[in-house]
Amino acid sequence: MIRIGVPSKGRLMQDCFDWFGAHGVVMRRDGADREYSGVIEGVEGVVPVLLSAAEIPRELASGRIHLGVTGSDLVREQLGEDEVAEVSKLGFGQADLIIAVPNVWIDVETVDDLDAAAAGFRAAHGHRLRIATKYHRLVREFLQRHGVADYQLVDSQGATEGTVKNGTAEAIADITSSGETLRANHLRVLSDGLIHQSEAVLWASRVAEWTGEDRKVMERLVGMLGVRPPL
């Protein structure tokens, strides 16, 4: 039996159900409104597991689910290429992971400028320039690739845009879809500060046990969904 993790609520769940539905795989929540269980119609041998989108990467990595739908930002942040394979981008849930600085930093336009500002900031304040984020790995890899030094990442699990005003960070790296919250908090995205373009993706776990029967089911499913076989 193939277990497929799908977001358990909200817009992401609905978009996900719509995407599968458009390919003849009908998903819906089962039972009472507050009960997190679901059913799939249109294909045999697949069972849905309703999960928080944030938990789906972990479940893929442990192999408790074979397939899962969640944002590429969460998976790229938490998992390696040897743990999951991308089956298909789903075309919804778009959001950009970006670096933003105070709009009053009129001398900072690019990541290059951020690096220079960090050097000056450290010399003036005696500590490294703080960037608040929850995407430590993606941000660090991006800044390393761009040769940025003299910064430190401080953890922020929510309301990240407020950290600069609150004095706990000098800049932020966070997910944004419209930029409205950034502007409201007097921040501006660096012109080359796009770290990752996130969207909802159907992932396959490389860790899960795929029986011969599972692989046959997967072949049928891949045919219906019109996607590449992942493994």
Binding site: N103, I106, D112, L129, A149, H186
Partner: protein, 365 residues
Amino acid sequence: MIPKTASRAEGETLLAAFLQAGAVPVETDLLQPAETLLDLYGEDIRARAYVTQDPARGEMMLRPDFTVPVVQAHMSHGAEPARYAYLGEVFRKQDRASGKASEYLQVGYEVFDRSAPEGADAEVFALFRDLLAGLALRPVTGDIGILMAAVRGLETTERRKAALLRHVWRPMRFKALLDRFSGRAPVPAGRIRLLERLAAGSPLDLIAEAGTFVGLRSAEEITARAEALVADADTPPIRATEAALLYDLLNLEAPAAAALAHLRGITPMLPAIGPAVDRFAARLAALAARGVDVSTLAFEASHGRTALEYYDGFVFSFLGPKDMPPVASGGRYDALTAVLGAGAFIPAVGGVIRPELVARLKGAT
């Protein structure tokens, strides 16, 4: 796989040889305060070191390297001159697919001596050569001090030199900056936009127009950099002939004696490297006196220029088969002692050997 007992035994043998050479044994903690290492290497080290949380002491790292704690121990209560040796595990995160060990022994030898730095360089190198003899390793040497001297001697602004020196261990970023400062790369679009914006008014007016002021970075800091950027835009590029010499230097790879002749040849055009080239010559003489054939010893001017390093002078590695990490590596790290010494400073050079790799090579022969 080499049994751990065999690696340990090899390490003990090498440690005994270091003690025989006059070193004092030194022990360091496995748990190191993360703050010191982060301040030194930056966030990049989080990708390589294991970080753990201590309720009382804050973030701690599993020892990624011996040099920092050995330098700290020496700077706080060491007598001079000093030779130290140590043996123990270091811990480095590795990519899942790499197959590299994330926990392994290092045995090391460090010399803190003000009197004759080139002599100490040669002492360490020759000791390592003797201990690794018969393993068919290829030694490679370099000297980051020559490159740093060349940058300091450029005919350009202090600001540009400081930017280059800050990134000397990040070769790609260094080259991008040099390309821009020498006019080989066009001014990036982002910088052009920025300069246009800064031309629209005084920095303080522009800051006021930008809205609510947030963050710790002050208007004075922002203004100072804005003014520096405008001044930098009017700075002429580094002369083509001077830049060409620096590019030539970055790519210099030759047997050490031939490299010295080449550097002597370009010194009249880059006089600032003169003292560093003299030190290079003194080191080669000291190496030759210890029986090293400098007419064949490999020299690469950019050797040791990788992230998470701190060498600022002589550097060396002993390389085995292609699929094996360096069996031994080391170098001079004078500036590190100043950074960790809270005002104090002492020239220092040293290196480490990985006993497990030595045992593996011995097993194969």
